[in-house]
Each structure stands twice: as structure tokens, then as C-alpha cells.
């Protein structure tokens, strides 16, 4: 291979290919989807929220105690109202999920064990967070009264299914944008790159290039173009969506490994189709087995599907990406994940070299 020739062809392709509408679409569509997900979903959507309205003629510790009892399970917002009527109106207008009206001297009365009256307003169709607040009220009152809980409950989660909580941990927005990052890598590798190669063969410009360069030089240049587009587009998408991986190195490693592997398959595809338009037509079908596993990682799936996912490069890369994005070991065995991704890559490039050697011959 000749580095000077590879770089010259690469320079031409980087500037020329993006003027091709098919290549442009392959890059812009995942970027657009990522941006759409980013504005549509919220990272905290999976945590219930509740607004607690209360009216008390004096300072009270009950709302704060209730928030402490609820803990991380529900995100509680406190809203003090001027009167019982105001609390009721807030609940009726669905501006509050639960309303409390406390009489004068409530906290002191509770502490003395006098069982003061507490009025609670709850909507006819309570929200999840409102329900949880109402259910936790008794425990909050006991705490306010200085009573110990009837029992010290300790919950231990055992035999948690691998990755079941991954999407919850990441949050819907980050997970959704991550799927568009994987979509972006797949579109560049398995649509843009093969379209560039197929167009060269279709228009026979490949023959002109190989008057001086080898097929291997041309192929290497196309692979570099794919890597370059990934290197520009992925950070752009992450930047536009303000998605910062906690483990940047891990994310870069995953992106590189997956891109190199998928580009290998993309280059193989580029040689199989007679025209770039034919490739473009079939790209949806071709991308399906590549992208479908991305959406299944972290979900509860049948054992057989889970076993198949373990053997696929995009699902393993998604596991690595989720780990890198969260900075946690949501999925075990990252070395195995890299091994699977790179093994597919090795297979792709072995086939590619075999095909090139036949063509050179």
C-alpha cells in the first residue's frame, strides 16, 4: 500500500462524497433523529414527580419530613399556600398532586401524641408520585412524633437481571441519543462508505485510479473517509445534544472499534452491488440486523435472543457505550465485548483482503 496515494484519494473523497445527496442523507438523518430525541425526552422521565401543596399558620416540619421519607423514589416539590381553600384549588387544578392543611400547633400536638386533625386533599385520579406521597404520610407522621418504625425493613435486591436497569440508570434521553449515535456510525459505515465505493466502480473512475494506485490503496482511502466522517459526526451529535460520556476514553474506544468493524462490512457491501442506487435501495434491509440489536440491549428479552445478542457486534458495542456513557459497569465483561466486536471486524477484513487479492489477480 502507498500512503501518499491513499491520502490523495482520501482527500478527494472527503470533499467529493459529501456533495453526494445519498452520503449527505446518511450523515444528516441520524444527526436529526438524535436532536429530535434530545428535545423530546428527558433524562429524569423515569423518576416520578409530585408537587405537595400545604397550608399551615406556622412553621411545620411535616412537608420536609415527608420528602425525606419518600427519598429518591419520587422527586417532591413543596409549595406553600396561604389557606386551605388555596390548597384545595391547587389540587383541583392539578397544580399539586397532594394537599395538606395543618391546624395551629400541629407539630407540637403530634409530638405530645395528641392526634391533631390533618386534612388531606387528593385528586380523584392521583398520580404515581401523589399516591406514593399519600402512602408515605403515616411514616412521616410517626417520624414527626418521634416514634420508631414498627420494624426496621431492609430491602436487598438479589439476582438482578443483567442490564435490566441500564436504561433507567442512563435516563431515557441519554439512551435515545445513544441509539442515534449507533445509528450514525452504522449509516456512515454501511451506507455512506459503500455508496462511495460502489459509485467509483459504477462510473468506472475506479479504473482510472487503479492505473496508478492499487485496489487496496483505494479501499483503504474509503475506510479512512468513513473513520473521518465518524470522527466528525459523533462528537458533533454529542455536542449538540450535550451528551458527555463519563468515561470518554471508553466511549472513544467503543466508537473506534465499532466503526472499524462496520466499515469493513461496508466495504464488502460496496463491492457486491452493481450500482450505488441499488445499494441505497437495499440499505434499509441491510441495516436492520445491524441496528435492531442496539434497541434490545438493556431490555428483558428471551434467553435465546439474549444469547444471540451476545454474539453480535452492535449489541456488544452498545453495552460498551452504555457503560462508558454512565461511567458505571452496567454490563460486565467489557473485554469480551471488545473481543466480539473486533472478531467480527477481523472476519470482515479477512474477507475484504481475499476479495481484493482476487481482484488484483
Amino acid at each position: 500500500m502507498h500512503p501518499r496515494l491513499i491520502l490523495t484519494i482520501f482527500r478527494k473523497d472527503v470533499l467529493d462524497a459529501i456533495r453526494d445527496s445519498r452520503v449527505l442523507v446518511a450523515v444528516l438523518v441520524p444527526l436529526g433523529i438524535g436532536l429530535f430525541y434530545n428535545v423530546t425526552f428527558d433524562d429524569d422521565d423515569t423518576q416520578p414527580k409530585a408537587t405537595l401543596a400545604y397550608a399551615s399558620p406556622e412553621q411545620t416540619r411535616l412537608p420536609e419530613t415527608l420528602r425525606e421519607v419518600v427519598g429518591d423514589v419520587t422527586d417532591v416539590t413543596l409549595r406553600q399556600a396561604e389557606s386551605a381553600a388555596a390548597v384545595q384549588r391547587l389540587v383541583e387544578d392539578e397544580d399539586a398532586d397532594l394537599g395538606l392543611v395543618l391546624p395551629t400547633g400541629f407539630d407540637a400536638a403530634v409530638a405530645r401524641g395528641e392526634a391533631p386533625a390533618l386534612t388531606v386533599f387528593q385528586p380523584a385520579s392521583p398520580s404515581l408520585g401523589g399516591d406514593f406521597l399519600a402512602a408515605s404520610l403515616d411514616l412521616a407522621l410517626r417520624r414527626l412524633a418521634g416514634q420508631a418504625a414498627p420494624a426496621g425493613v431492609q430491602i436487598a435486591v438479589v439476582a438482578e437481571e443483567e442490564g435490566t436497569l441500564a436504561i433507567e440508570r442512563l435516563g431515557l434521553r441519554r439512551w435515545a441519543v445513544l441509539t442515534s449515535v449507533m445509528f450514525l456510525i452504522a449509516m456512515i459505515s454501511m451506507l455512506a462508505v459503500p455508496v462511495i465505493l460502489a459509485e467509483e466502480a459504477e462510473r468506472k473512475t475506479l479504473d482510472a485510479l487503479t492505473m496508478i494506485a492499487s485496489y487496496a490503496d483505494v479501499t483503504a482511502a474509503k475506510a479512512l473517509v468513513g473513520l473521518c466522517y465518524v470522527a466528525l459526526a459523533v462528537p458533533l451529535l454529542l455536542g449538540l445534544t450535550r451528551l458527555a460520556p463519563d468515561d470518554v476514553l471508553g466511549f472513544v474506544g467503543m466508537t473506534l472499534a465499532l466503526s472499524v468493524t462496520l466499515i469493513g462490512f461496508g466495504l464488502l457491501l460496496g463491492g457486491l452491488f452493481r450500482s450505488a442506487n441499488q445499494l441505497n435501495t437495499w440499505s434499509g434491509v441491510l441495516l436492520l440486523p445491524v441496528l435492531a440489536p442496539v434497541f434490545l440491549v438493556g431490555l428483558s428479552v428471551p434467553d435465546l435472543v439474549a444469547a444471540v445478542l451476545l454474539a453480535l457486534p452492535t449489541s456488544q458495542a452498545t453495552r460498551l457505550a452504555m457503560n462508558a456513557l454512565s461511567g458505571e459497569a452496567l454490563f460486565p465483561d467489557p473485554a469480551l465485548s471488545y473481543l466480539v466486536v473486533l472478531a467480527w471486524g477481523a472476519a470482515a477484513y479477512a474477507l475484504l483482503l481475499w476479495r481484493l487479492s482476487r481482484r488484483e489477480g
Binding site: 490523495t8 484519494i9 468506472k204 473512475t205 482510472a208
Partner: protein
Amino acid sequence: MVEVSDLRKHYGAVRAVDGVSFAVGAGEVFGLLGHNGAGKTTTIRLLTGRARPTGGRARVAGFDATTERERIKPLINLVFEDQNLYERLSGRDTLRLFADLYGAPRGRVDELLEVVDLTAAARRKVRTYSTGMRQRLLIARALVNRPRVLFLDEPTRGLDPTSARELRGLIARLGEEGTTVVLTTHDMEEADALCHRVAFLSQGRLVALDAPRELKLRYGQRTAAVLLRDRSERTVRLDDAEDARRLAAWMTEGAVLAVHSQEGTLEDVFVELAGRPL
């Protein structure tokens, strides 16, 4: 500059090139003529290292076309039958790309644009070029590395008569400047006008090889048509003593209006050799 010896290329039972031998000297313009499927393009592919021969040898610019392909690449170039250009690049960018690939100086680009008369259109995208402009750009692209041997596959196909004539002038100049040119063509008049020697291929075999004039003399009719004052036309054989005397007599009498040589054309030669016209 090009030496071909018993060159063969078989695709299964099909003998695309079947034992062809010839040599082309430096600065010579050499034509490969024949029907479609006669083996012209396959011969070019073998000589440019784009296909491996089944047998025989080909040396180009002093190197074996099969085993020393990498050494030949910088010394040759090819104008393809198809107009295989990058549509989204400008003419200048096209030449810059190939100048960079061949390691030619950037100044060569402007020089070539001038040679093929594309300087004014250099910044336009190739997709806006006419067929003739594209063909001139293809020639310029093939000259970017100052090839010692230039192969042209049907260089004037699809061109209007004016563009074709301009292109022939350019090819002739290349030969005069010392570039060895090997071209394939269907156009016998073009071959006659351009080529120092031509080779006729038929079904993969070389059926004749010589200078066009020699071939015409060898295979053409040695007769002349004589137009007399009474508007009658007579044919005289140039090798016949009796006909020579008759012609002399008509001329003495002042009866001859015109004499037309009936030397054969390359087309006639080809029909005689290949059995059917192109």
C-alpha cells in the same frame, strides 16, 4: 517500447486474444483495428496490466506487463473507452487529483488545460461539459504523468466530426513529440490518417500488420478509372501493358478528362481479411 509475443487470454472456451505478436517503436502511433469482440480492448487490458494473460509475454516501456506492473504504472496511461470522470469535480480539480496521484507538479495542470483547450472551462463541474470537452479532459488526465506509452481505447467514439478532428490532431502531435501511442478504433479513416502502422485483429488473432499505405497497396486493386471527354468511364489495369498503351493513346488524343486511382481503402483491406466490414 511495446513488445508482444504470442500473447493469449482465454476466458474458458472463449479465446479473446489468441497468440498475438507485434512490437511498437518509440514515438510510433500504432492502431489496433477490428470488430467488436475482436480482442482489441482485451489486448489493451493485458498491456496495461489490468488483466493477466493466459500465456505469452508482453513488455511495455522495458518491463514485463504482468510481473512488473507496479514499475510500468508511472510510465504509461490510458484513455478509457468510457468517459469515466468525476462528475462533481471541476476540470481543474480532476487534473489536480491525478497530478497529485502521479506526483506531477501542479504547473502541469494549467499546461494540460491549455493543451486540450479547456482553460476557460477549468472551474466548471465536469457534469456541465459536452462529450467533446469530456474526451479532451480524459486525454489531459492521461497525459498528466507524461506517459512514455499512451493507450487510447476508441478515443473519438461518439464525438462530432469537428471534435474528432481536433482530437486526432492532438494525438498526432503526441506521436511527433515522441510519445508512443497505441490506439484502438473502428474508424478506418482515422487509423489511416493517424497511425504509422496498424494491426488487424479478428477473433483474437492478428490477421495483418503493416503501414496503412502498404496494406492498401498489397490488398487494394491496382486499377485506375479514366473519365473521357465523351463522359464515358473506362477502367485500366496498372500492371497490364495493353491497358497502359490504351491510356497513353487517350492522353495523346487529349481525350482524358480525369484519372482516379482505385487504390483500396483500409476498409477494403479489412473486408478482404476479416470477411465482413466493420
